[in-house]
Symmetry: C2
Subunit: 299 residues, 2 copies
Amino acid sequence: MSVLIVGSTALDSIKTPKAENPRLLGGSASHASVAASFFSPTKLIGVVGEDFPKKYLALYKKHGIDVAGLQILPGKTFHWSGEYEVNMNNRRTLLTELGVFESFTPVLPTAHQGTPFVLLANIAPALQHHVLDQVKRPKFVVADTMDLWLNIALNDLVSLLKRIDGFVLNDGEAHQLTKEDNVFAALKKIHKMGPKYVIIKKGSHGSILSSPQGFFICPAYPLKQVVDPTGAGDSFVGGLMGYLASAKGSIDANLRRAMIYGSVTASFCCEGFGLIRTTKTKRSEIDARVRELEQMTKF
Amino acid sequence: MSVLIVGSTALDSIKTPKAENPRLLGGSASHASVAASFFSPTKLIGVVGEDFPKKYLALYKKHGIDVAGLQILPGKTFHWSGEYEVNMNNRRTLLTELGVFESFTPVLPTAHQGTPFVLLANIAPALQHHVLDQVKRPKFVVADTMDLWLNIALNDLVSLLKRIDGFVLNDGEAHQLTKEDNVFAALKKIHKMGPKYVIIKKGSHGSILSSPQGFFICPAYPLKQVVDPTGAGDSFVGGLMGYLASAKGSIDANLRRAMIYGSVTASFCCEGFGLIRTTKTKRSEIDARVRELEQMTKF
C-alpha cells in the first residue's frame, strides 16, 4: 500500500564541528519520503519556491516519490541553517527563512485522498489538521511534531491528538507536553490525550513504543561516527510508515519491526550530511543492519 | 559457583525531592552482594566501624552473604550523604566521612582465595589490585569504577584494566577515560586498554556490552517511578556476576542473559531507598521481569 507524507521541504545549511554544507535537500517531508520510499510507494505533499534546484526534484523522482502534491510557487524555498556542538547532541538554529512556506496550504490531489497510510511529518499542527480534513478513511495515521509547536500551537496539537492513531515525539517534547520527567509516566498521560500508539524517540538511545500490547524497547543501530543527525527523526518515522504500508497483516503484528526498519533507515541518515548517505543506501544494506540488530538484542 | 565481592560498605544518608532517609545500608559491595545473592553464594570483602548497626549485619546474613571477609574495626563506618535533583539523574554529594574506610586493606580469608568469580565493585583501584593479588586463578574477574578514580587514581585504574576480563563503567566515565563522545568509538579504545568484555551503563537507557561476539544492546526495565537510584549500577553488576556464577556453560553463552538479570535486579533497587526494596524482592519477581523484558524486546 502507499504512504502519503506531508511536512516541510527545505534547503538546509548545516554546520558541524568537522564540516559545513550549504543548501542541502532537507525538511521533514523530504527525509521521511526518501526513507519511506525504500519500502512503499510514497506521495509527498509540500511546497518549494522557484529557486528549488532541479536536481532535488530529480532526486525525489529517482526514489519513485510522487510529487503531484508538491507545489512550486513564486518565491524562495524554506531555508534553515543550523550548527551542531561537538557532541552532536545539541544544535542551535542560525537562520530560518520561511519563504513560500509561510503561506503554505497543503492541497491533496484527488488521487491522493484515499491513501491508506498517512504520515503527518513535522509541520504546524494546523496544516496537519488540514491534510487530515482532505483524506478519506485512512487506515493508519501517524503524526510527528517538534518543540516549536508545543510552544506556539499547543491547542492545535492537542486537538490533533484525538484524530490520529500514532504519535511520535522525542523525550524532551514528552516532558514538555506532560510535565513528567519519567518517560513511562509521560506515555501514560499522552495515551489519555488520544493516540493508541505513542512512540518516544531517544536519539542514540533508541525509542520506546507504548501500545495496547505493552511496551516495545527499540534499539538504535550502533554508529561509531555521526556525521550529521539532521533528519534522523524524520527518517525514522518515514521508514516506519513505509515498512508498515508494505507489510501484510495487522498494525499490531508489524509495528515493532517497522520501528526497527525506521531505526536502521535513520542510522544511514546520520552517516552523511542531509540526505547524502540515505540516497546512496540500498535496500539490501537496510536489511543487513536489521539482521545485525536482531543479533545485538537476542538474549 | 560462588562470587567474591570487594567494595565499599557504608551508611548512606539520601535525600530526594520527595523524601529523606538517614543512615541506610549502602556502599558498592552491599548493593552488589545483595544483588548477587539472589543467584549464587556470595562472599563480601569490606570494612565497617563499631557503629555499624547489628540489623545490617543480620541483613547480609539473611541473604546468605558470607561476611568472614568483613572487617569490623574501631572507629566509624564510612558515611556518605547525597541529594538528588528533581529529575533523579543528577546528584550532589553533601558529605563524605571515610571513617575506618580511610585505612582499609582488604584481606581475603584463605577459604575465599579460590573463588571463581571475582567482582571488584567500585572502590579505589589500588584496593582492587590488592584483592586480585590475593585470589588464585579466578575464572572471571570484573571491575566497576567511578569518575573519582579517573580523576585521582588513573594510573592504578589503567594498570588494573590489563588484569581483568570485564570492565563496567558508565557513559560519562567512558567519555572521560577515552575523550570519545561516541560510546562505540569509546568501547573500541577501552578494549585496547585490556579488557575482553566492556559494558557501558547508560542508566534508564540500559547498557551496552562489547565483546568478541559483537555488541549486545541491553534494555533497562521500564519504571514509572524511580524512588532512589543510589546503588543501581552496583546492583546491576552484582546481579550480573551472581547470575553468571550460577549459569552452566561458557561466559560468552551466558553474559547477555546475565546483563538482563543485572538490569532487572537494578530496577528493584531503584524502587526504594537504599536496599529497602531490593531486600524485599523475591527471585520469582526477578524472573517475571526478565520474562517481561523478553516480551518488550522481541520483534
